[in-house]
């Protein structure tokens, strides 16, 4: 009962912080969707980082390290140290600049305008929504699995998912992205602190970090190196998974909230360190849990890897600490859910509703976004009741789809010769390649080294390669964009200023 009181208290506090953002709401759709482009460096860092770290990073990484060992850190976290800042620096800043000058609010608006193609917009909308939904599922499933483990099954995953989704829905609906940014800042600080606290608390309960690692070294030594668990091509191919952040609709929206291009600097420099701070404790706890399982001190089959973190917290901490630590895990999960829900609401309003009725009032726009967000929240919750895939694997498939679309944003920003035919070919190729490989991964016995690999590497390599090729070939075989469009997207230094 005690953990539930602490978690309930945290959710109440979070609602308060989120609704504080509502008090500053200026009543316009620009403020609701983009916080009037007023977010400074620190809050941008907190919201970009908080949005990027989800159940995948905490619950998923611990579960994956439980199966694959310490190499999991290099697969995702340290690639994120180079690839994510690169995306913020080379893509985010330029997107911010274009949004500032040309008034874009969504990715679809940017691509439709840059490639002079309403058809491209119509194709992209369902694909982006379809890719965000599994990402939402990761959060909802992670919250459910954690609380169920901590309460030893007393609270069902379905109930936790419903409560967490409802809390996020309330503050996002009221305050838009300003409320999400306030809540993200608060939650990011909470989960950073709690992550470190969890690590030290559990290490202490296991007789110290040295003793905990020694147990794994004795019983599961293969988990302390990559050895045969992760091959070198497999390891290398994860670089492309991280590129997905270049096409996340929710990050795109956060980039546009920045008050200046220089506001990105703090995020670019600090992101690698913050990612490490979150992933290191999680990976070590996953490895320690495997040692405990091998010694018979922790009953947990690998198929239940999503629950590793929750079970460790429940097993090795007291009720109050257990509540605090669980609240921290939920903070990481909800700091992504809010931005994802809002991004979908924004896309529906701007890319669908406002296209159908060009005279849509500001108030109607905001209410339409709220209605769509509510529908997505309910739909995601229903889907979560029937999903059984591991969080890490679900996340990687979702990221692979976004990575397939990343050539689109890079070409839109840096390649003048990129055309609408190339862009459409890129999107269609991503959809076909992703669907084909995903279906293949469902075949029994398709996994090797704990994952579905094609030619020894992650499917993302083939998806990204095919979509890049389609973009280049399609562009070179078709007519270049008009001079007017190129002048707006690639202005000389004087016009850009």
């Amino acid at each position: 009962m005690t953990p539930l009181i602490v978690i309930g208290g945290y959710l109440g506090l979070l609602l308060g912080v989120g609704l504080l953002g509502h008090r500053l709401f200026r009543g316009t759709s620009t403020d609701y969707f983009l916080a009037s482009r007023s977010i400074g460096p620190f809050m941008l860092l907190m919201s970009l980082f908080g949005t990027t770290m989800t159940a995948f990073a905490l619950v998923g990484s611990t579960g994956k390290a439980y199966v694959l060992g310490i190499g999991v850190f290099g697969l995702m976290a340290s690639w994120a140290a180079i690839v994510h800042p690169a995306m913020f620096h080379f893509v985010g800043r330029r997107v911010w600049d274009l949004g500032h000058r040309l008034g874009h609010v969504t990715q679809v608006q940017l691509f439709r305008d840059r490639f002079e193609s309403p058809l491209l917009g119509a194709l992209l909308f369902p694909i982006l929504v379809g890719l965000v939904i599994p990402y939402l599922l990761i959060g909802v499933l992670g919250a459910g699995a954690t609380v169920a483990a901590v309460t030893k099954g007393a609270v069902s995953p379905a109930l936790t998912s419903a409560v967490v989704s409802a809390v996020v829905l309330v503050y996002v609906s009221f305050g838009g992205i300003r409320a999400a940014t306030f809540a993200n800042t608060f939650q990011t600080l909470v989960f950073l602190a709690v992550g470190v606290l969890t690590f030290f608390t559990i290490a202490d309960a296991l007789g110290g970090a040295e003793a905990a690692t020694a147990r794994t070294a004795l019983l599961r030594p293969e988990l302390l190196s990559r050895g045969d668990l992760i091959t070198q091509p497999h390891f290398l191919s994860y670089a492309l998974v991280g590129m997905s952040v270049g096409m996340f609709p929710h990050l795109f929206q956060h980039w546009l909230t920045a008050r200046s291009s220089s506001a990105f600097n703090l995020s670019i420099v600090w992101h690698p360190l913050l990612v490490m701070l979150v992933w290191l404790p999680c990976v070590m706890m996953g490895v320690w849990a495997a040692g405990l399982h091998a010694s018979g001190e922790l009953a947990l089959p690998p198929a239940k890897a999503n629950a590793v973190l929750g079970i460790m917290v429940a097993h090795f901490t007291g009720p109050w600490m257990s509540g605090v630590l669980t609240a921290g895990i939920l903070a990481a999960i909800m700091s992504s859910l809010d931005s994802q829900f809002l991004a979908l609401g924004t896309m529906f309003t701007e890319d669908i509703a406002a296209r159908i009725d060009e005279n849509l009032s500001e108030t109607k726009k905001i209410w339409m976004a709220r209605g769509f967000i509510a529908a997505i929240v309910i739909g995601t919750w229903l889907l979560s009741l029937f999903t059984t895939r591991g969080i890490f694997d679900l996340g990687v498939w979702c990221f692979s789809g976004f990575t397939g679309l990343t050539p689109l944003v890079i070409a839109a920003l840096y390649w003048r010769r990129a055309t609408r035919i190339g862009a459409i070919a890129c999107v269609l190729t991503t959809a076909v390649a992703w669907t084909t490989l995903f279906i293949a991964s469902l075949q029994p016995g398709a996994a090797e080294h704990g994952e579905f690999l094609v030619g020894g590497v992650m499917p993302v390599v083939w998806i990204f390669g095919a979509s890049s090729l389609a973009l280049v070939v399609g562009s070179l075989l078709s007519t270049p964009p008009s001079d007017a469009t190129l002048a707006r997207y690639f202005p000389g230094p004087e016009e850009a200023a």
Binding site: F73, G74, H89, S225
Partner: protein, 70 residues
């Protein structure tokens, strides 16, 4: 000092190569008695990456100016 595009590309390429630490691949020895060396390297790598980005941002990125929207 402003870094050229070639210098930025070189720094990022070196950083990407250092990520692929094949030299620790099969080594399970421990640093500080609790952290496997293959993981310790990647913790160090996070600091290195942050430093490289600090250099790139300070020499190529926009800096705060009085003209920024408050």
């Amino acid at each position: 000092m402003r870094l050229s595009a070639a210098a930025v590309a070189t720094l990022l390429t070196i950083l990407a190569i250092l990520h692929h630490d094949f030299w620790w691949w099969n080594d399970a020895s421990l640093v500080l008695d609790w952290i496997p060396v293959g993981l310790a390297w990647h913790v160090f790598y996070a600091f290195l990456a942050s430093a490289v980005w600090a250099v790139i941002v300070s020499s190529t990125g926009p800096q705060d100016s009085p003209g920024d929207t408050p």
